[in-house]
């Protein structure tokens, strides 16, 4: 029997079990166990006075780059970055090289994930080679271990294929995650279409490029009765469409990323390629609407779209630069800012970052009930730090938040009772 771990005196925020109070959490053999009356002398005790104890954070949208682009990130380094950011599980998108469109690639990723610092849930491709033409083998991939399906980064153009993908996936109980972008409209754009793009002379991407695709996905979800999940919502218009769809009973869930509720397209000034991502940073009004949607439940989850790139892809002309930023190590502090600003409550934050991702993906986690796997994140809401390039655990450093003063940090991450990160 392993050593008993006691997380003492922390504020336990466990909305799945309607808990938000000072309590001790006991862990034995990798699972939450009933707290006893007296702590045995050989127990490993963490005094967590002033800290929050929450179910392990889950990021349902990351890019781990392995196989194929190991110079940017690997399953191992991505998992380490996740642990450092307080995450105990991540879902990794299939746009690797080769693309994860078959059981053999899925198995390869899961082999790399053995012993990693976070649970890895591979997401399989919707179409073979994400080419948007033929369905990939969902049954085989499901058996190999994919948690969901997406053609992230290469959105499905053909509406018929998307419909068939949703229907076919439902037979294997697999969720389709949509990167919602109408490519014929976003065509060659490299930032949000606005006065900023006009002044900088960059080709703009209008909000409508996202709205059109989001509307298609919810229309298809309504048609088929099958759930769909909208990835990285960036606009107020998408929020309105999702809210409307939910009011009609459509089975749609959605996520946004910290950069969309923190930054606007003003961050692109100076041709900052670390402010270039797909979808692009939007206007202040979009940012405000996303914050409200996180509060009122229109948006279900916060995911980072962690997208590591090296300077080879980022230290170039803006219109040639790759899309995406890393996010695993800044997601929690940026979300805690929403809590401090009164936009969301502490328990809502836990829902957005742990409970909902587990529920949407249908994976364990998001709960600290007795018997649950002991994936636990301990947060110091007061800890202040300046986010520097040197402290980044991810293999890449493409973040617009470098140099920012942040408050709140994961100080202890436990994966099945095993410590994967500890800066207590």
């Amino acid at each position: 029997m392993n050593t008993l771990i006691v997380l003492q005196n922390g504020r336990v925020i466990d909305p799945a079990n309607a808990v938000d109070r000072k309590a001790d959490v006991w862990i034995q053999d990798g699972r939450i166990t009933e707290a006893g009356s007296a702590i045995p002398p050989d127990a490993q005790v963490f005094n967590l006075e002033g800290k929050w104890v929450v179910p392990g954070l889950i990021d349902m949208h990351v890019h781990l780059r392995e196989p194929g682009q190991e110079y940017k990130e690997t399953v191992e380094t991505g998992a380490q970055a996740a642990a450092a950011g307080g995450f105990t599980a991540v879902a990794c998108m299939p746009n690797t090289n080769p693309i994860n469109d078959s059981a053999s690639v899925t198995r390869f990723i899961l082999e790399r994930a053995a012993g990693a610092a976070a649970r890895i849930y591979p997401v399989g491709a919707i179409s073979q080679g994400s080419n948007g033409a033929e369905l990939a083998e969902y049954g085989e991939m499901k058996r190999a271990g994919v948690a969901a399906l997406s053609d992230d980064g290469r959105p499905v153009v053909d509406s018929q294929l998307m419909r068939r993908a949703m229907e076919y996936a439902s037979g294997y109980n697999l969720l389709v995650i949509s990167h919602s972008e109408e490519r014929s409209l976003s065509h060659n754009g490299s930032m949000n279409e606005s006065v900023v793009s006009t002044r900088l002379g960059l080709k703009g991407i209008p909000n409508a490029a996202e709205s059109i695709a989001v509307f298609r996905e919810v229309a298809l979800a309504e048609l088929t009765g099958v759930p769909v999940h909208i990835a990285h919502v960036s606009t107020g218009d998408s929020v309105d469409i999702i809210r409307y769809a939910k009011s009609r009973g459509v089975r749609v869930t959605a996520e946004t990323a910290p950069h969309y509720f923190t930054l606007t397209d003003a961050a692109v000034e100076g041709y900052n390629t670390n402010a270039k991502m797909s979808p692009p940073l939007r206007s202040e009004s979009d940012r405000q609407k996303i914050r409200i949607a996180l509060q009122d439940g229109t948006l279900d989850a916060i995911a980072t779209d962690h997208a590591p790139h090296s300077i080879l892809e980022k230290n170039v002309e803006f219109d040639h630069a790759a899309n995406g930023i890393i996010g695993l190590e800044t997601s929690l502090p940026l979300t805690l800012a929403l809590v401090r600003e009164g936009v969301i409550s502490e328990s809502r934050m836990v829902e957005l970052m742990s409970v909902a991702p587990a529920r949407i993906l249908g994976v364990p986690g998001g709960s600290l009930a007795v018997g649950d796997v002991a994936d636990v994140t301990v947060i110091d809401p007061e800890r202040q730090f300046t986010y520097t390039k040197e402290m980044i655990v991810s293999k890449s450093a493409n973040s617009p938040f470098i140099g920012w003063k942040l408050q709140g940090k994961a100080v202890l991450t436990l994966l099945g009772g095993r410590t994967t990160h500890n800066v207590l």
């Binding site: 006065v195 002044r199 002379g201 703009g204 170039v316 002309e317 803006f318 219109d319 040639h320």
Partner: protein
């Protein structure tokens, strides 16, 4: 020594766009350009001001006029100039802009003049080299020397910019000249109207100070200056306009249209002209046309920029 008045100091080491300039900066550049203009009228068109300075013309897009204008400007000030075109540079061999820049830097140029299809490329270059960077046109961002020569030409003929009504007609969305002009003209107190098919109007252009007109007639009405922009043939495929013929019918600047403008209206064009498309031949060559003055002033403005980025009189030889 301090005098009662604060001493003006041109503080820009790099020229990225008109946006970076104060009204005082623009006035200083133009007055420097005016003093240099006379050099081009001399029998021996050369002064030793930039002797021993190395200037590289780094052009990633084809250009005849601007490249030649910068080269003549540099040579009239005795600088050594070198031209690199995209087709002859290592960028076609897969070298990145920054690697190419570092290699150039290793040869210790004083100024790199860059034209590039990507907006922001001059700024990126400036972060990796010690040389002064002058933007000779980047994507749809800015073309500051063109903006300055346009201001110089207008002031030469009208005495000042303030209070003038200036109509810019054409593809505002894809034009770096339009951006530099709108920013510069409005800084100096002119009213700028823009007109063109709606597909040529970029998002939020009003916030840059331009008045968007619903027709070219409205834009030209009572105008002191009418500038026509070049229509790029590739815009037909984008698709932004159906045909050059239709464009010319509704937005071409011709004699009849100009009856609405002031009698002494100036006709300008950044070149090269598609005769009969954005500008009718009689207008291009007509009495109000100052298109060739623009070209002449281009050399003077570029001499001024080369001189000023290297520190002006503090650093000169003559």
């Amino acid at each position: 020594m301090t005098t009662g008045k604060s001493e003006y100091f041109f503080k820009h080491r790099h020229i990225f766009g008109i946006e970076q300039f104060s009204v005082e900066d623009i006035a200083h550049i133009l007055s420097t350009a005016r003093s240099f203009k006379e050099i081009s009228e001399r029998p021996i068109k050369k002064v030793p001001t930039l002797r021993g300075k190395t200037i590289i013309n780094f052009f990633f897009e084809s250009s005849t006029r601007t490249r030649l204008s910068f080269e003549i400007a540099a040579k009239r000030m005795s600088a050594d100039t070198f031209n690199i075109a995209a087709s002859t540079s290592s960028t076609t061999k897969g070298e990145t802009l920054i690697d190419t820049a570092r290699n150039l830097e290793a040869m210790r140029p004083d100024i790199i003049i860059i034209r590039h299809a990507s907006s922001g490329a001059p700024l990126l270059l400036s972060r990796h080299v010690n040389a002064s960077i002058i933007n000779a046109g980047d994507g749809a961002h800015e073309h500051p020397s063109q903006g300055l020569l346009d201001m110089m030409t207008i002031i030469e003929h009208k005495g000042q910019m303030s209070g003038l009504i200036i109509a810019i007609v054409g593809d505002i969305a894809h034009s770096r000249v339009a951006r530099s002009d709108i920013i510069g003209f409005t800084k100096l107190g002119a009213t700028v109207r823009v007109a063109g098919p709606a597909t040529f109007m970029p998002s939020g252009i009003e916030q840059l100070g331009a008045h968007v007109c619903s027709s070219v007639e409205e834009a030209v009405d009572g105008a002191d200056v009418v500038m026509a922009l070049r229509i790029q043939h590739e815009r037909l495929k984008d698709p932004l306009i159906p045909s050059l013929r239709e464009y010319s019918t509704f937005f071409g600047v011709n004699r009849k249209l100009l009856e609405r403008a002031k009698a002494d209206v100036l006709i300008m064009h950044p070149g090269p002209i598609n005769r009969g498309v954005e500008l009718s031949p009689d207008v291009a060559d007509g009495p109000g046309s100052v298109i060739m003055d623009q070209v002449t002033n281009g050399v003077a403005v570029r001499m001024a920029l080369l001189y000023l980025v290297l520190g002006g009189e503090k650093n000169s030889d003559g």
